[in-house]
């Protein structure tokens, strides 16, 4: 693997670490299987790319992308809480609706950011090679978001959110409004995913309406992969595991696609992903089965 391919994998891994944070909040903290992600990722990209092309500064554009993502999460949560639609189905409805909305926002299937100022533009002036800029910038973003996320999950409100997912009846008995927690958690989760989508568009130089396909699977792969390779006993470890899992996944994919002897090609990406996720899910089970067998013999 070349240095450029390696840094590319790190860059995407870091960005999808943000997606993994979002998936961690919905799937793990709230126990709310949320597929909205496939729509909120391109939503973040569409909003920021369209605004940047229209002449807004990249900071405002990124902020609005984050807010839009939060709103998408709220819609899914409201469909579930107020209209009593099954969480999985509620999120699929929002995701499908977002496809149209993203097309409307961009006015066409894709928007290119050719020569427009992005969040990364000021860094280009520093004089580093282009393939170093995005990974370094994203390390900073991921670290800041991770710290905020850890502090939040350890706060009074964060603790109430964790209790909501783990034992809603007990949470209510302690005076926690579980509906408020689901609304808040889903908004925060999708806001993070939209931030990832926005940064992805800015580093890749374009937003595309189809760029969200499979984002949820990658996010889930990162969360589960992180749990498979390291301990997630504390909140700190669990959040770090999201990023570790995400980078690990990217490197595994890059390795698989670069290794000629296996004969895999770029079009095999989704198949490889599905196999990796399936493996990561069954691995803990196989491990405990082996342990149990050892104990018996």
């Amino acid at each position: 693997m070349s240095l450029i391919a390696f840094l590319g994998a790190i860059e995407t891994g870091l960005l999808f670490g943000l997606v993994a944070f979002g998936v961690f909040i919905s799937f793990r903290v709230l126990d709310f299987p949320d597929l909205t992600v496939d729509g909120s990722f391109p939503l973040g990209a569409a909003v920021s790319a369209s605004m940047i092309v229209a002449g807004y500064d990249p900071w405002t554009s990124t902020l609005l992308a984050i807010i839009a993502g939060g709103a998408a999460g709220l819609v899914t949560a409201l469909l579930n809480i107020k209209l009593k639609i099954l969480h999985l189905l509620a999120s699929i409805l929002t995701m499908i609706a977002l496809y149209s909305i993203n097309l409307r926002i961009m006015g066409k299937p894709n928007v290119a950011l050719l020569g427009d100022d992005t969040l990364l533009t000021p860094l280009e002036a520093v004089g580093l090679p282009y393939y170093w800029i995005a990974p370094l910038a994203f390390v900073l973003v991921v670290v800041v978001v991770a710290i905020l996320l850890i502090l939040f999950l350890k706060s009074e409100t964060g603790l109430a959110m964790r209790a909501t997912g783990a034992n809603p009846r007990m949470a209510r008995a302690q005076g926690v409004s579980t509906t408020m927690m689901i609304l808040l958690g889903m908004a925060v989760s999708n806001a993070m995913v939209a931030l990832a989508g926005s940064l992805f568009a800015q580093s890749q130089g374009s937003a595309d309406v189809t760029m969200g396909v499979g984002v949820i699977v990658v996010g889930l792969a990162s969360v589960i992969g992180g749990e498979a390779v390291m301990s997630t006993r504390t909140i700190l470890l669990a959040v770090i595991a999201c990023v570790v899992g995400s980078i690990f996944y990217r490197l595994a994919i890059a390795f698989a696609l670069n290794a000629d002897f296996i004969g895999l090609k770029a079009q095999d990406l989704n198949l490889v992903t599905a196999v990796l996720v399936a493996l990561a899910i069954v691995m803990p089970q196989i491990k405990s089965n082996l342990k149990a067998k050892k104990r018996l013999s």
Binding site: A166, N167, M170, A173, Q174, G175
Partner: protein, 264 residues
């Protein structure tokens, strides 16, 4: 203080399995009463507790907690006044959270929650003092996951959590029923001590008539969604299980068919 006025609860109304669980029950519990509640399966014990805590909304009638009408409030808005220990030790605590996080959750029962750290240093000292009295060594395991504790230990912590903050009423829903006899006795004794020390108003559902007479200051028996009898003070002193049965037969004109109440 609790004032329940003529409440009705019907489950699955208008269906073949319609169940009229609460049929015009009225009950007044003044401050400081420790009421034990007995009754056969389906008598409405759980429904009564759920109606007070807000898990179930009553069809008609009203519920006042500490002079406030809470009939239309949901569980989380009653939590400041109503504390509860569930029957299932797994239900009252979060196994994925640490012991101190569970307690931190409970120390804010009914309060607003902000963005400050949930587990504060000054709380920790308080948790330790409270845990120490359990005599289970849990004061040195604040950061352990709740899931590592046994059912009895978890139920003892649930009881601490419920009584960490002041409340109008403490609801105990057969909270020793799922434990082995020795642990059940320990948790019951602990309950008695805490209620006495903090002079709490409590409503304890139990499956055993013997237990119902041994603890508390007043005993209620429910039958078909109503109060079959209500004894306290002089009248209750010296009562035995067979007297309760006689009382029930006298008031209801029928024999009790549920043996489990006698055996427990």
């Amino acid at each position: 203080m609790i004032e329940i006025d003529n409440i009705h609860v019907t489950f699955a109304q208008g269906t073949p399995v319609e169940n009229h669980a609460m049929r015009g029950l009225s009950l007044f519990i003044p401050e400081g009463d420790f009421v034990t509640v007995i009754g056969s399966n389906g008598a409405g014990k759980s429904t009564l507790l759920n109606a007070i805590s807000g898990e179930i909304r009553v069809d008609t009638g009203s519920i006042k907690v500490g002079n406030q009408d809470v009939t239309r409030r949901n569980t989380e808005r009653r939590a400041g006044d109503v504390a509860r220990v569930f029957q299932d030790p797994m239900a009252g605590t979060c196994e994925g959270l640490s012991i101190e996080e569970n307690l931190a959750l409970a120390i804010k029962r009914g309060d607003s929650r902000g963005l400050g750290m949930a587990v504060k240093r000054e709380y920790r000292q308080r948790f330790k003092t409270r845990l120490k009295r359990l005599g289970l060594g849990l004061e040195n395991r604040l950061e352990d996951r709740m899931g590592l504790l046994s059912g009895g230990q978890r139920q003892a912590v649930s009881l601490l959590m419920a009584t960490l903050q002041p409340m109008q009423i403490l609801l105990l829903d057969e909270h020793t029923a799922a434990l082995d006899p020795k642990t059940a006795a320990f948790v019951l004794e602990l309950t008695r001590e805490i209620i006495e020390e903090q002079q709490l108003t409590a409503l304890m559902v139990t499956h055993s008539m013997k237990q119902a007479l041994e603890v508390g200051s007043r005993t209620l028996m429910l039958h078909e969604g109503k109060i079959a009898f209500d004894v306290e003070g002089e009248q209750r002193k010296g009562l035995e299980v067979k007297d309760l049965l006689a009382l029930f037969e006298k008031n209801k004109g029928e024999e009790l068919a549920d043996d489990s109440l006698l055996l427990g």
